[in-house]
């Protein structure tokens, strides 16, 4: 019997747990050339800020073992052009959209959320992902997500701007000593769920020129190489929820998923939805292919519902 892949997320029930990952899928038109984007549980857009941004110069990337380093610099059209052009397109295409927003200051996040809320295409939005893994201009460029207080402030301000039935997800960085404390702060401030993980900060040296390979010097590391870090972060956070250290909220898992088997790892660790990021560069149809592979695996293992597999590994820790 086919597995019921549907999953509740906020007020909506998504027909599938599969999503694109922000910054790995542009804003819809490009991947619609390869698959029907309505097959996804949600399409996650590239993080958008208040104003248009050129992003950084090039080179912007370096290939690394089973992954890549990127330093794009949040290139984007700004929220007004985004809602008029990209979100409007996603709406007419029938895509359930999870809009990723970013800001240089906590106030900018709130402004972006307010413009989104006021837009004609807002009914295509099934949730907002708050990309707090960007530098806080007000705090010497320290990444918001590295600081529980700064993270909480952003989440609280965004929460105020959006209707209650539109869930917000805080996207966390693994580059912290204790990811659970950041998760706690975000949920307490009003996050309805968490997305984990963002890229890890990394660096590559061009050994011909003996200088940093990407123009931005450091960059975000992603791809299958970082998957164990994602599994660990999801596991720790889910475990904290099971122990009652923070309320149980859905976790959207992301990090190095290339196959259905990879997705199942994140799900078994506690993810209620799975985003496919860097693997899309290898295979533009990966987000839906992984979903089909995951459904097949769950069926083979005798699951009737996807949701029964979420966090299943927590009850099965081998005790020596």
């Amino acid at each position: 019997m086919p597995v019921d892949m549907s999953v509740p997320l906020g007020a909506a029930t998504l027909p599938s747990p599969m999503m694109t990952a922000s910054g790995c899928a542009a804003n819809g038109r490009e991947l619609a050339r390869f698959f029907d984007i309505r097959e996804l549980g949600a399409f996650v857009t590239k993080s958008v800020m208040a104003d248009p941004r050129s992003g950084r110069g090039t080179p912007r990337m370096a290939e690394t073992p089973s992954g890549m380093l990127n330093s794009i610099g949040l290139q984007g059209p700004g929220i007004s052009a985004f809602v008029d052009q990209d979100l409007a397109w996603l709406k007419q295409a029938g895509a359930r959209t999870l809009v990723s927003i970013a800001g240089n200051t906590s106030g900018e996040f709130a402004d972006v959320a307010a413009t989104l809320r006021a837009s004609d295409a807002f009914d295509a939005v099934v949730g907002v992902e708050v990309n707090i893994s960007c530098p806080n201009v007000a705090n010497r460029g320290l990444v918001f997500a590295c600081d529980p207080m700064a993270s909480a402030k952003v989440v609280a301000l965004v929460r105020e701007q959006l209707p209650r039935d539109v869930p917000i997800f805080a996207k966390l960085t693994p580059d912290v000593t204790d990811i659970v404390s950041v998760a706690q702060a975000c949920v307490k401030a009003g996050a309805d769920g968490l997305t984990m993980i963002n890229t890890l900060l990394g660096m590559v040296i061009d050994t011909d020129r003996l200088r940093p390979q990407v123009a931005g010097v450091t960059g975000g590391l992603s791809g299958p190489a970082v998957r164990p870090v994602a599994v660990r972060a999801i596991w720790q956070t889910r475990a904290a929820m099971l122990e009652g250290r923070l309320p149980t909220v859905p976790i959207i898992g992301v990090g190095g998923v290339r196959t259905g088997r990879d997705a199942l790892e994140l799900v078994a660790a506690g993810a209620s939805a799975v985003q496919v990021g860097t693997a899309t560069f290898n295979d533009p149809s990966a987000p839906v292919r992984v979903g089909r592979e995951l459904a097949g695996l769950l069926e083979d293992k005798g699951f009737e519902r996807f949701t029964d597999a979420v966090g299943v590994a927590h009850g099965r820790v081998a005790r020596a």
Binding site: C24, F34, R53, T58, P59, N104, A215, P224, F281
Partner: protein
């Protein structure tokens, strides 16, 4: 809409396919490898100047990013069904892997991608300039131009004779061919830029098409502009996906409105009007964001 099989995607009307391509021929061509793949559905969609993005290393490869190659030629139907040819210079992990493939090996191919060379509406004279394997897409272009009644001349240049591609083919596809090598091992000793002004003047060319390294494309643009011709150049920026989703392949290009934007060379290119490219932003293997580009970092900002 999209078909169910894992690695064969075709959305009607999208202009692009993702197929598992079987290699049916591989041969050396000087310093390069010339590969022919069966790629059903791709040939019918492709135009000169477009490219394909190949996955390298198989399904579990640690080299995740796609490698992009100009389409050398396509045949919509033959004994094997549609085929696509590429010419590969083995310079790194992915191209080395491709160059060791043997007949019947399979490669995941996405294409055709990017914008083709625009063709003139009048039968004007054209000069096609290729640097190294950069000549690969030009023969097909030459054929399309001559079909429209254009007089076509080719200028092929490389560091040395083994790095020229298609000199024999050029004589068949063009009305005149000039060859240059840096070391003088074939043709004129020197650069394509040494002979280009003379060829443009002699033919009265209205369009100069170029494909090759960035430095060469810049000088082609300068020369064409000085001679009153339009340059159309196919760039080769570092690309991770080839399909417009990674934002790594950007470069500063001025639009019709004169405004410079950081545009994706995989979707808005790889062919650009040479005089729209902000060559001033490129130096020393880096490309800066020009201060007047849309959304450029402000002093003290990001």
């Amino acid at each position: 809409m999209s078909e169910a099989s894992t690695r064969h995607t075709r959305v009607e009307g999208s202009g692009v396919v993702q197929v598992t391509g079987e290699l049916i021929a591989t041969r050396r061509a000087g310093a390069y490898h010339h590969l022919t793949f069966v790629a059903p559905g791709l040939a019918e969609l492709a135009r000169p100047g477009q490219f394909v993005a190949l996955a390298v290393g198989g399904d579990t490869s640690a080299n995740l990013l796609r490698r992009c190659f100009s389409i050398h030629k396509v045949s919509p139907s033959g004994t094997y069904g549609g085929t696509v040819d590429v010419v590969i210079s083995a310079v790194g992990a992915g191209t080395e892997w491709l160059s060791t493939l043997r007949a019947h090996d399979e490669v995941d191919i996405v294409g055709p991608l990017g914008r083709p060379f625009p063709l003139p509406s009048e039968p004007v004279a054209c000069v096609l300039v290729g640097g190294g394997y950069g000549s690969a897409p030009l023969f097909w272009l030459a054929g399309a131009l001559r079909e429209r009644g254009c007089h076509v001349e080719m200028v092929l240049g490389a560091a040395t004779e083994s790095k020229l591609f298609g000199v024999v083919e050029a004589r068949r596809f063009a009305d005149g061919v000039t060859v240059t090598t840096d070391d003088g091992s074939a043709g004129n000793k020197g650069w394509v830029s040494d002979v280009l002004p003379m060829v443009i003047r002699r033919t009265g060319a209205a369009v100069v098409y170029g494909c090759g390294p960035m430095g060469m494309l810049r000088s082609i643009t300068d020369i064409a502009t000085a001679e009153g011709a339009v340059a159309q150049v196919a760039v080769e920026e570092s690309m991770a996906c080839g399909v417009g989703v990674c934002m790594t392949c950007v470069m500063p290009v001025a639009g019709k409105d004169g405004t410079t934007r950081m545009v994706r060379s995989c979707v808005e290119g790889p062919v650009f009007r040479g005089d729209r490219v902000r060559w001033d932003a490129f130096s020393d293997g880096l490309c800066r964001v020009p201060a007047d580009a849309v959304g450029a970092p402000r002093v003290g900002g990001h």
